[in-house]
């Protein structure tokens, strides 16, 4: 009897968590799959015309989705290597100096705690070309003789460029932090041993440092991939809410637009798109894990 009571009490402690997770995570998970197979689900009537792969086929043939897919992949392919590499360089530099290191570390972490939307607006102002002025960045480029270009409403490559720059700016603090602490946790005896052996700095880096921190690097690559595939707010910050019009939509943006907003009201399409995104992310994460398992040896 007492035992029963104890059991029941434990569940009482868990009740809030279970209720909220059940309603807002587990049920939606099942529901979204159902939605995605229901053709033409209607919000008002709560009914659909039938079931099938129609939603998937629609989404995959939607030029907006194709555009979003392309944008997302470009963001992933460009920003993940660039930001990881840059973070590695900065962390290495940071680890090899002593004075001012804390100050630099604090400054570098700042973007992590700022509102993406707010700072995105600043980036937009810096990159935008208006009737009044070419903008800060164009002014700088002008010094090097580069013709001015509107990065916000201009050609696709320019928009992509500023999008990638901003994304890298936003994700770097996290990566620098993780890599700096990974580097700090490498036993200094390894470096002493290497020094006594007369190891060249490049060899120390590629043969000792990099393998030793490789678990963290892989962790960052994996989370970086996942994060980049979910890119959305950064784009909204730069190009506004109507990303389709700007040609800068992402897959997550497509999902939300299907759900709500100017082109919204289609939860079935949104669900199908979200599941496609999830499958892509899942596949790539699995590949990543397999690669990392093969290259991280200890």
């Amino acid at each position: 009897m007492k035992q029963k009571l104890r059991q029941y009490k434990a569940w009482l402690y868990l009740l809030p968590a279970i209720v909220f997770l059940g309603i807002f995570m587990v049920y939606p998970l099942l529901d979204v799959v159902i939605y995605s197979f229901e053709e033409g689900f209607n919000f008002v009537t709560q009914s659909s015309r039938g079931t099938g792969l129609f939603n998937y086929s629609y989404v995959l043939h939607d030029p907006y989705f194709v555009q979003a897919l392309k944008n997302t992949f470009l963001i992933v392919i460009i920003t993940v290597p660039v930001s990881t590499g840059l973070a590695l360089l900065i962390s290495l530099a940071l680890s090899s100096v002593k004075p001012l290191r804390n100050l630099f570390q604090t400054v570098y972490f700042l973007p992590y705690v700022t509102n993406t939307l707010a700072v995105g607006l600043v980036f937009m102002v810096l990159f935008k070309k208006t009737a009044y002025t070419d903008g800060m960045v164009n002014l700088l480029l002008g010094v090097f003789g580069v013709p001015s270009v509107d990065f916000i409403d201009g050609p696709y490559w320019a928009k992509l460029l500023v999008m990638c720059i901003y994304t890298v700016w936003v994700v770097l603090p996290f990566k620098i932090l993780i890599l700096t602490s990974a580097l700090a946790s490498v036993n200094p005896d390894y470096y002493k041993a290497a020094r006594v052996d007369g190891t060249r700095p490049s060899r120390i880096f590629f043969r000792i440092t990099l393998p030793l921190i490789s678990p963290m690097v892989f962790y960052l690559v994996i989370t970086g991939f996942i994060g980049a595939f979910k890119a959305y707010s950064d784009e909204v910050a730069l190009f506004g809410t109507d990303l389709n019009a700007a040609g800068m939509n992402t897959m997550v943006g497509y999902v939300y637009d299907m759900l709500y907003g100017a082109s919204g009201g289609y939860p079935s399409y949104a669900s199908a798109a979200a599941l496609i995104l999830f499958l892509i992310v899942l596949t790539i994460t699995c590949i990543n894990l397999m690669v990392s398992r093969r290259s991280v040896h200890y």
Partner: protein
């Protein structure tokens, strides 16, 4: 084995050392240059938004080439930011949203983490595994149904609608459970022998001991709430319920006649300041928490 390996003359040795010293000095200087460049890249947007927020709209618009300084600083933009758009309202909404969400979440995760860490019940391992597997589920996947659910419950444009879906976090339950488990179980047994109730033990022993982790989690959640954009955007379309992120987007697209950049920058400064202040106060806690949790906002 022989020992004829070291061949060098005395003068060569001293040459080597001064040369090495010079090379080291150059290397260090280059490192600092590189670090400074990135620091400028990080700080420049902040500098620019503060700078611009003190320029008058007229002065700003007449700058064909943007100026790096402000000749006649004005606080007019800040007044404008609070009067022309309901910035104070966005601010207050965000404050309420952040505090309530964080507080509720702390209660929920503390209870759950305690149950997983110390209480015994059938199915504990299975349930915990289920919880962990939920960590892999991206928010994007469940947000669709949640949107439908909240709409169905008629909670759009309301605080409950904003708050409810984000008051559990599997990740934080996991983090806290690990912390709780590090508290020696002997303490729990001793308390049981003394006849202390579970709840009293949780309140009097566990929570005080785990306080550093609890504070870290709370701060991280506050940051997350303050910057949340997607869910509030879906669930609110009336300005009375906008949070700062949505507010800033609204301002960008409709406020200040779209061209009053200095006023926009003033609004941006206002909504950025609280978190930066929080960060500067809790710098070590936040950085340690983020690197320990390995979480990405």
């Amino acid at each position: 084995m022989t020992q004829e390996n070291v061949v060098f003359s005395g003068t060569a040795a001293t040459d080597f050392s001064s040369q090495a010293k010079r090379r080291r000095r150059i290397r260090t200087s280059l490192l600092y240059v590189f670090l400074t460049i990135w620091a400028v890249a990080v700080l420049f947007p902040f500098y620019w938004m503060i700078l611009t927020s003190f320029k008058s709209q007229g002065a700003y618009n007449s700058e064909q080439t943007p100026k790096f300084y402000v000749s006649e600083p004005t606080a007019e933009n800040y007044r404008e930011a609070f009067t022309a758009v309901p910035l104070a309202r966005y601010f207050g909404n965000t404050l309420i949203f952040t505090i309530v969400t964080t507080a509720l979440m702390m209660v929920v995760i503390i209870l759950a983490a305690f149950a997983f860490a110390r209480l015994k019940f059938r199915g504990k391992n299975l349930l915990f595994t289920l919880f962990l597997s939920l960590m892999m589920i991206p928010n994007e996947l469940v947000i669709i149904t949640n949107y439908v659910t909240i709409t169905k419950w008629d909670l759009r444009n309301s605080f409950p609608g904003l708050i409810l879906p984000s008051i559990t976090s599997v990740f934080y339950i996991y983090l806290l459970k690990e912390t709780f488990e590090q508290i020696p179980e002997e303490l729990y047994k001793a308390a049981k022998v003394d006849g202390t109730s579970d709840f009293k033990y949780l309140r009097r022993v566990m929570i005080p001991i785990a306080r550093p982790t609890l504070v870290t989690i709370a701060i991280l959640k506050v940051i997350e709430c303050w910057n949340s954009y997607v869910w509030p955007r879906l669930i609110t379309d009336k300005a009375e319920y906008f949070l700062v992120s949505n507010g800033i987007q609204e301002i960008r697209e409709h406020g200040f006649g779209r061209d009053n950049i200095p006023a926009m920058m003033a609004a941006v400064v206002v909504i950025s300041v609280p978190l930066i202040v929080l960060f500067l106060i809790f710098r070590n806690k936040i950085m340690e928490g983020v690197s320990r949790g390995g979480i990405k906002a």
